[in-house]
């Protein structure tokens, strides 16, 4: 299914600027943001910006990939825990897939996530790259 431009546009604060939400009562941060805290139903929250670095908590290597990422196959996917404890999911870029390890340090980098052929809108977002500096 193609991505209609409004769907991408609505997610800019999250995908471009890593904006998350932190709920008052539980102190938990969720990315992407949500309106209700699933742990206690709290709706009082503030906007927070996620830190740029973290560690891989689990990963896989996609070897049979959807056509949008055919040129990048095989590629890594990981759940990363950032330095503030927030966990998020994303692709691993610029890394030999055989070198991905649980516990690996990564940093967030702005990348092109999807594009629709030669004519559609370009959808940008974040990926994880090995933290080498």
């Amino acid at each position: 299914m193609s991505i209609f431009p409004s769907r991408s546009w609505r997610e800019y604060p999250q995908r471009y600027r890593m904006e998350a939400v932190k709920f008052k009562k539980s102190g938990k941060t969720y990315f992407p943001p949500r309106q209700v805290d699933p742990t206690n139903g709290d709706t009082e929250c503030e906007k927070v910006v996620l830190p740029e670095t973290g560690k891989v908590t689990t990963y896989t290597v996609i070897r049979v990939s959807p056509s949008q990422w055919g040129d990048l196959s095989p590629y890594g996917l990981a759940i990363v825990e950032l330095t503030d404890g927030t966990r998020l999911f994303g692709q691993i870029a610029d890394c030999n897939v055989d070198q991905i390890k649980i516990g690996m340090d990564v940093r967030i980098e702005f990348r092109l996530i999807q594009k629709e052929g030669t004519h559609g809108v370009l959808s940008y977002g974040y990926k994880f790259v090995p933290k080498w500096y």
Partner: protein, 349 residues
């Protein structure tokens, strides 16, 4: 006095050696390496483009600028010849990603390899005129070289970003000069995937005449001589051209070294001399004078004379250095992966 408040660069991790490309086309690698002084070039993977490179370079520029109020950035200009969209600005994507919106000027710049340096001049002019407190200029490219063409050996990718302002400068801009003519040395028609060029015609009357024109004019305007400068950066479509013009004008290898990146980076088009400038800033000391002259086919050259302040010592290490990006953590690829990354393979729709 206007100048650079923050600067940063970003480069891809992937590289391809001249020998790899030569092998496929039956070309003579040693003569390319010797003749053009090129060893390898950077290759952007499919998820990297002018916009993503610009965002990462801008992040580094903001790191070095310190805690400046982003709402005071009044313009964002990206100069490139590989903007991802033909219609829809790169600047708005980068602006949105950097949190610079809504009260901000924006338009994309195009002038072959000097789109970025022109953006730098215009951004600086805005702040100098008191129109706004800061203006962001980015020079970025992921240009294409046609398969088997000489330019395929050098067309590379990279970005440099500069936040211009009038206070707390890392480098003051003492003089600028721009020289241009209409020169059909290198062009790309709308809807064409690869550019065309005039071969040897791109040398004397194009690159050299234009660069010489701007360089001699700014030296005259400023009353300075080459020996006054610590570093000099020229547009670098290969290693040879900038070296030749530098020596002709009276600069030395030592002066061009920190900004002479083409042999290992390739030609980053709009990014070329701006990235070279970041390489010089990274190693400069307070009081150093840096000479910079870009070149864009078509043609034009933007010359700048920068004076580094003591702020460089405080901020140099707040972001990753250009030479580190150039030399470390590299992945070498072969031609097949390169062709795949650069969309040179015909696929089914």
């Amino acid at each position: 006095m206007a100048g650079i408040v923050g600067y940063g660069a970003h480069l891809p991790r992937h590289r391809i050696k001249v020998e790899e490309i030569a092998k496929v086309w039956g070309a003579d690698a040693p003569s390319y390496k010797k003749g053009l002084m090129l060893r390898e070039k950077s290759v952007p993977p499919p998820d990297m483009d002018t916009i993503t490179l610009s965002v990462e370079a801008a992040k580094n520029a903001f790191r070095r600028a310190g805690n400046i109020d982003r709402s005071k950035v009044g313009a964002i200009y990206i100069g490139s010849e590989s903007h991802p969209y033909a219609v829809k600005p790169s600047g708005t994507v980068v602006g949105e990603a950097m949190g610079i919106f809504n009260d901000c000027h924006c338009a994309d710049f195009e002038f072959a390899c000097k789109a970025g340096s022109e953006a730098m001049y215009v951004a600086m002019s805005h702040v100098k005129a008191g129109e706004m407190k800061y203006a962001l200029a980015i020079a970025a490219d992921t240009s294409q070289g046609a398969p088997s063409d000489a330019l395929e050996f050098s067309a590379a990718a990279g970005a440099a970003a500069f936040i211009m302002g009038t206070e707390d400068l890392i480098a003051e801009c003492l003089y600028t000069h721009s020289w241009m003519q209409d020169m059909p040395d290198f062009w790309r028609r709308e809807h064409e995937f690869y550019p065309q060029h005039g071969g040897r015609f791109t040398g004397e009357e194009a690159y050299f005449a234009t660069t010489r024109g701007a360089s001699e004019a700014i030296l005259k305007k400023s009353g300075m001589k080459p020996s006054d400068f610590k570093y000099a950066v020229f547009h670098q479509p290969n290693g040879k051209f900038p070296q030749r013009i530098a020596f002709e004008l009276g600069f030395t290898q030592e002066q061009i070294d920190p900004g002479w990146l083409a042999p290992r980076l390739g030609n980053t088009y709009s990014g070329a001399s701006p990235i070279g400038l970041t390489g010089c800033l990274d190693v400069s000391k307070p009081g150093d004078l840096i000479f910079m002259c870009s070149y864009g086919s078509g043609s034009g050259s933007d010359a700048f004379i920068w004076k580094v302040t003591e702020k460089i010592n405080r901020v140099r290490n707040l972001a990753v250095g250009t030479h580190k990006l150039l030399d470390e953590n590299l992945t070498y690829i072969e031609y097949g992966t390169y062709a795949k990354f650069r969309h040179k393979i015909i696929k089914n729709k």
